[in-house]
């Protein structure tokens, strides 16, 4: 009589497809990931229905919930060039190491005279850095204005250079024109943001992008209704 034979070898699953899949996903995430740079403050922008994505090439001014202004440029090269100009204007010297660190900084909110000390500090120390009162934008000492001017000039210069390069090589140029972006915390008082607007309009810059988060998932009841 035929007896049912029990297979003697250990149960084994072929894991190859799973591994394939896992590595495929790893590769995908690795290539698409754009890492968030450590920012000096956490800012929770208000929600809107706007669907425009933020252009990459921006001069960014961040306003946190207590009204401090932070400045950042989306391009490391432009950042370093702007620092050079600021250093000359305010007579603050930076060493090679500090300049390099500045290129990797997302945004900062200190006065120019405190900047060398801020750059020397480690990342953890920067969070507790004193005084971190934001980039001054008072009409008497409007450093933000200088940062914006120099930052925009450098970004434009790089943009033009890339464009010329592309035209010379007969390649289609896909870069975007530099823009001005303002990212402000929803809880910030409007008057603080208005001061930043004013800094821009004083410089005859009238169009900017306000960074907002997507509508939905908002805890606040104060969200406008959909059409």
């Amino acid at each position: 009589m035929g007896k049912i034979k029990v297979a003697k070898h250990a149960p084994s699953i072929d894991m190859t497809p799973m591994v394939d899949l896992a590595f495929l996903l790893v590769t995908f995430f690795m290539l698409t990931a754009s890492f968030r740079m450590a920012e000096p403050v956490v800012v929770d922008p208000p929600a809107s229905h706007s669907e425009k994505t933020l252009p990459e090439n921006t001069v960014l001014v961040t306003v946190d919930n207590i009204g401090r202004a932070f400045f950042g440029i989306g391009n490391g090269e432009a950042k370093i060039a702007a620092l050079d100009k600021i250093s000359k204007k305010y007579n603050v010297r930076f060493n090679a190491d500090q300049i390099k660190k500045f290129g990797g900084l997302s945004s900062f909110g200190v006065e120019v005279k405190d900047l060398p000390r801020y750059l020397d500090a480690s990342e953890a120390e920067r969070l507790k850095f004193q005084p971190q009162k934001g980039v001054p934008l008072d009409s008497l000492n409007n450093q933000l204005k200088d940062w914006i001017t120099f930052g925009a000039t450098e970004l434009n210069a790089i943009y033009m250079r890339n464009k010329d390069d592309a035209t010379n090589k007969n390649i289609e140029f896909k870069g975007e024109k530099p823009r001005y972006a303002i990212k402000a915390d929803g809880k910030a008082k409007y008057i603080y943001v208005r001061d930043v607007f004013k800094t821009f309009t004083d410089m005859k810059i009238y169009t900017f992008n306000l960074i907002t988060s997507m509508e939905g998932g908002e805890t606040k009841a104060a969200a406008p209704a959909k059409h």
Binding site: F35, P46, S48
Partner: protein, 212 residues
Amino acid sequence: MAEIAESGGGHGKGGKKRAKKQSTRVDMTPMVDLAFLLLTFFVLTSTFSKPKSMELSLPADPPPGSPPPPEVKNGVTFLLTKDDRIFYYAGQFYSAGNPKGMPPTELKETNFSKEGLHTLLSEQNKWAIDEIDKLSAQNKAKILADTTFKRLAVEKTADTKAITVLIKTDDQATYRNAIDMLDELKICDVGKRVLGVEMSAPEFQLLQEKIK
């Protein structure tokens, strides 16, 4: 575990030297562990959605000595203040005892809900919304080209029959309120809007009495 190691069964009698049947399988477990670890890491750290942004154009400051702007017709003024409250009045502002003998302006309150601001603006701007809806219907029916539609829609929002909205804030209003307001204006096809005008003293006083 992919495989449970089998204890070699060839220890029996007759110690004949035989090439051991070695399994060609590799234990993949550590590799899988690593792969998933990396996967988790990248999933958690990657930022997918690029931030959205809203374009804002502010008017240039009028040169000093230029004539004051003409009276706004068909205007609605919103006063934003603390605790997400909004007050509004339609038309011109008349303080008590004004020389023109108009009844003094009273502030009405609304809120950011659908029944509040959205309904209010849709009613006030009904003319422009209807006109744009008509155009949009024509556009869908392929009578109107996209570019023409866009141009006409902008023209409608700039028409004198469409409303003009002035947004004034006091020092307690939050940025979120201003953005919500702008967003709602966009939804309700309000093309003419003025942001960040200074509140006049009588307006401010009236507001203070209301929020007390």
